[in-house]
Structures are given as structure tokens and as C-alpha cells.
């Protein structure tokens, strides 16, 4: 899948797109599922586990993330890290978000 296809599909599903944005944004550091939920919730958005985990899996299959199992600590955890491609997509999405919101606000403001 090339970047164009991915960006188009995200843009057309606005709600799911917002969550993707938040998840990618939170992955500036390595995270595991539960820590992601906690961090996103700190920003005031609640995301359910049954949405997040399948989403992380999907993002990984699209090449935006990689995952590794950390078995060193007491509890084994699956950590997710954003890829360069993921960062690239995130930046494009972010710009699109801002311009969309600006446009929406203009419409809504009138």
C-alpha cells in the first residue's frame, strides 16, 4: 500500500482517523497497549481496549509501527514503536487535521 491509499482511507473515516492520530502522536515514545490507553485518556479522550488493540495490529500490518515482546520485566509486555514511515504518515495527517479543523471552524464560526 502506498501513502496515497492510506491517507485517503483515513481521511474518509473521520472518527477512526482521530484515534489513529492520537495513537501515533502518543507513540513518540515506545508504548505498550495499556500505557497508550492511559496516556490518551490523560488528554481527555477515552479509547476502549477492544478498539485499540486491533487498531495497533492493523497499523503494524500497514507498516506504521513495529512491535516487540519485552520479556525482561516481571510482566511480559508487547511494546509498539513508530516507524519512519509511520512518522511520515503522522506528519501528513497532522497537517491535514489542522487545516481541516481550521476549515471546519470557519464554517462553524459563520
Amino acid at each position: 500500500m502506498d501513502k496515497q491509499e492510506i491517507v485517503s482511507s483515513f481521511i474518509s473515516e473521520l472518527r477512526r482517523g482521530v484515534i489513529v492520530l492520537l495513537v501515533l502522536s502518543s507513540l513518540h515514545t515506545e508504548q505498550y497497549g495499556y500505557s497508550l490507553i492511559t496516556e490518551i485518556e490523560k488528554g481527555g479522550v477515552s479509547i476502549e481496549a477492544n478498539t485499540l488493540y486491533p487498531l495497533l495490529r492493523r497499523l503494524e500490518s500497514q507498516g506504521l509501527l513495529t512491535s516487540t515482546w519485552n520479556t525482561d520485566a516481571a510482566k511480559p509486555r508487547k511494546y509498539y514503536e513508530i516507524t519512519d514511515f509511520g512518522r511520515d504518515v503522522y506528519e501528513t495527517l497532522r497537517r491535514h487535521w489542522h487545516s481541516t479543523v481550521e476549515g471546519i471552524n470557519k464554517i462553524l464560526g459563520d
Binding site: S8, N50, Y53, W69, K78
Partner: protein
Amino acid sequence: MQHDLIERYIYAVKRGLPQKIKADVEQELRSHISDMLSDRTGDVLPTDTDVRVVLTELGPPKELAEKYSPDKQKALISGTYFTTYKFVLKIVALCVVFGLLVSNIIEIIFGAVWYEEILDFFASIILSLLTSFSIVTLIFAVFERRGIKIETGLGLDDLPTVPKKNEEIKIGETITGIAFSVVFCIVFIAFPGIMGGFFDGVFIPLLNIEVARSMWYLTLAMTVIGIAKAVYGMHEGRYTPALCVFSVIADVISFALTFVFFSNGALINQEFIGFLAKIIEGDAAIVTTIFENFGMFMIVIISFALVIDITEMIVKGVRASRA
């Protein structure tokens, strides 16, 4: 942590998951549940109530499992192919019924008992329809999995051109292709005795019926290929390069199957040859020779037809890829 409810929950989720990801999802889910409980109770051992609250928050196991399956795997034969699928089923059903009807009527004409034939007809109908429906379903499931993706979001310039009237694969061509394949199948499996001759008022079949029937898998394979080719053609609507490549491959496989079928030494009914030799003599002995080597004769004829078809496909394919 070990807890009966947690185990049962995870087991329920696993049952709804695709095989490949079961182990991984289980581990991740356990780790998540463990974190949820730690958050709730800290170092204190979670109680039954705690576990229940956490599992309820996760939602019904079936819903969780369903979200792991990508949408495109949900239907065996989805929207775009489904209408075509129904259409092909109708044609195949009609051909099967018609084919069996005709073969049973012919058997009545040749002296079979009529009520036996009617019973035979109804008995064969159900099995034949079931078999043919399964084959058609299988063909379409394969097309769905490996098939032509319908592009969304194409630019206007990328839209395929409208085929000229003489470039189009008309629906009549598709129907003929499917009908021919199905009738061919029925004849060679249900009624291989259809070819033969009358000697002294007794009908002797050309082919050895048991032998022809024993190679039913070859006949079936050729039928499947024939139907797949017709359906693919109908879907494309014109001779695209992909369709042409597919047709060439299909033709080559058909040739191999035909070759095996007709090179079976036991196929020709020697009784027929014997009767024929008795009544044909002298210059016409060549006719006997032809029938003796009927198998080779058929292979040559079919090869001819296939070579012509392959050449046509190659020409059309090259033309289409240049356009």
C-alpha cells in the same frame, strides 16, 4: 493471574480469532487484564468483583474477537461478485436440469423403463445440483480471495475505456460457454453412451461407459475450467491482458486433461469397433481405422481448436495491452 472467569473469557475470545494471531492476542490480553487489575487493586489480590468489573469493561468476548478480523475476510463471496455468482448459479442449474432431462428421455427412447427413468432423474438431480453449486461457489470464493480488486478513488482518467461493440464479451458468449461446459460434463459423466451406432437394430455405444465414467474427475476438472473461463470473461467484459493470460493457461491445462482422457486405451468400446469392421469393407476400411484410433483423433481435433483459441487469446491480449 489465574482465575476461572479470566480463563473462560480469554478462551471465548480465542475461539473467535483467526488461527495465526491466537497466541499473540492471548498474551497481550492477559497482560492488559493484569494491568487493569493492578490499577484497580494495587498490591492487594483482586477479588471476584474486581475481576468481573474488569472483564465487563472489556466487553463481550465475541465482540472483541470480531474486531480483530479484517473486514475483507467477512464474506465468502461479497457484493461485487455476488450478483454474478447468482447469475451463474441459475445458468448452471438450468443446464444441469436440462441435461439430465435430455439424457433420461433419450434412455427412455432407447427402451429403458419410463418410471425407472423418472426416479433416476429425480435421484440424479439433487446430487448433481449440489455438486455443481459447490463447484461454482468454490470458483467464486477463489476469485474473491485472489481476484480483481475493484479500485476505489480512481481518477477519471484512470477509468477503463468503454469497449467497442465488437470488443465486448457479450452475455450470450458467457451463457454459451457455461452451458457448453455443463452439458459436456453431464454427457460424459451421466450419459457417455450417447455416441454410438445401430447395428442390426441394437445400439452399441462408441465409448466404454464404465471407463469414461471412471475418469469423471478429468471431465469435472475440464468443466470447472470452462466455467471459470466464462465467468472471468463476463466479469472483465472485454479481452483484457489478464483474461487472455488466464485463458491460455486454462487452455493448456484443458489440453493436458483431454490428452489423458482420450489416451486411455480402454476408452473405446471394442465391441463397437468389431461391429463396424464387419459392415465396412474395402476402401471404407479407413473409417474403421479412424474409430479404432478415436482417442488420438479427438486429441488432434481438440489440439487444433485449442491452438486456434490460444493464438486468438495471444493476439487479443497483445492488442489489449497496447491500447
